[in-house]
Symmetry: C2
Subunit: 229 residues, 2 copies
Amino acid sequence: MSASADLGSSDEDYRLAAIDLLGAIAYGELSAFERLVEDAKMAPGIDDKIAIGAMATAEFGHLQKLVARIAELGADPAAAMQEFRASFEAFHAHTAPADYYEGLIKAYVGDGLAADFYREIAAYLDAETREVIIASLEDSGQTAFIVDRVRAGIAEDHRLGGRLALWGRRLMGEALTQAQRVAGDRDALTALLAGGVDRPGLDLAALGRMFTRLTELHTARMAELGLEA
Amino acid sequence: MSASADLGSSDEDYRLAAIDLLGAIAYGELSAFERLVEDAKMAPGIDDKIAIGAMATAEFGHLQKLVARIAELGADPAAAMQEFRASFEAFHAHTAPADYYEGLIKAYVGDGLAADFYREIAAYLDAETREVIIASLEDSGQTAFIVDRVRAGIAEDHRLGGRLALWGRRLMGEALTQAQRVAGDRDALTALLAGGVDRPGLDLAALGRMFTRLTELHTARMAELGLEA
C-alpha cells in the first residue's frame, strides 16, 4: 500500500504534517525514556528503580510503532525526529528535577500533558496514523505507582506539597512555551491545524476550547497527586 | 508448588545460594540497563539512540523474569539485589566510558563476559532456575549493531583500535576484581560452587578450566570487534 493510498488524501502538505507530528511524538518519547531512566538514579530503593524501568521500557515500545509509521509514510524516522530534538532538549534543560519527587511529577504531569495534546491533534489526521498515535499514548498503568509515592511523600512532609505544586505549574508553563515555539516554526503542522478545503480545521474558538480541555485535564492530574494546580 | 519442591533439594544453603546468584544477575542487568541508556546520550545520531534503547529494553525484559524467580524462591527481590549494589556500582565507577566507543565496547564485552560467567555457574543449579538464567542471558541479536559501529570507527581512525584494545583489557581486569571480591564475601555462593555431599562442585582444576574458557570467549569477542585482547 502506497503512502498516498494510506492517507485517503493525496495532499503532500498533509503527508509532511503527519510526519512532523509523528516525529515530534517519537522524539518526545525517546527523550522521555532517557530522562526517566536518568531520574530513576535518584530513586531511594530498588523497587522504585524497577517500577520506573518498567515505565521507561513501555515508553520505548510505543516509540517503535511511531518509527514504523514514519517509515510507512515514506520518511526517514531519524531525520523526522531530529527536527524536534532542540525543542525537547530545551524543555528538559529547563525542567531538570531537583530531587526524586520532582522527577516523578515530571514523568506523570509532563507525559500526561503531552499525551492530551497529541490526542487532540491526532483528531485531525487519517485513521491509520491516528490509531498509531493513540496506541503510543496509552498509559501502561504503571503511573499508579507515581501517585502512591507522591501522596506518601506529602503525607510525611506537608511542605513538599507546596513545592511540588509550584513545580507542576512550572512544567505546564515550560511545555506551553516549547509547544508554541514548535507550532510557530513548523509550517506544515500549522497548516494542518488550520484545515483545508476538504478538511475541517481549528479556528481560534476551537483552539481556545482545546486549551481549556488541556488545562482541566492537567488540574485533574495534579489533584490525583494531591496537589493544587 | 513450594520453593523446596522446585529445587529438587531441601538444602537451605542451596536456596540461599540460588537467590544470591539471581540477585547478582538481576542487579547487574538493572545497572547495565541504566548505564546503557546513559551512555546512549553520547551517541552521535538518533538511529544509534534507538538501537541502544532497544538493547536496553531487552535487558530490562530479562530482569523481570529473574525478579519473578527470586520471589518464587521465597525471597524479596529488591533485598536480594541490594546485596550486590555496591559491587556493581564500584565496577561502573571504575569503568565510566570516556566516549561513545568505550560505551559500546563496555556493553558488548562487559555484558558478554558477565553472561559467560553466569552461564558457567548456572550449570550448578536446579533445572528451573538454570533455565530462567540462561533465558535472561540470551543475546537479543542487537549487538550486531555494536560490531558494525566499532569496526567502522576503527576503519576511519586506526589509533582508535589501540585505545579500545587497552580499554577491553581494563574492563576484563575490573570485572575479575569485582567478581573475586563478591565471591569472597558471599559464603552461600562459594559453598554452592564448592559442591556438597549430593552435588558435584568446582575443584581448583575445574575453576582453572572455567577461567580458560572465559578468557577464550573474551578474546573471540574482542576479535569480532577487530580488537586484540
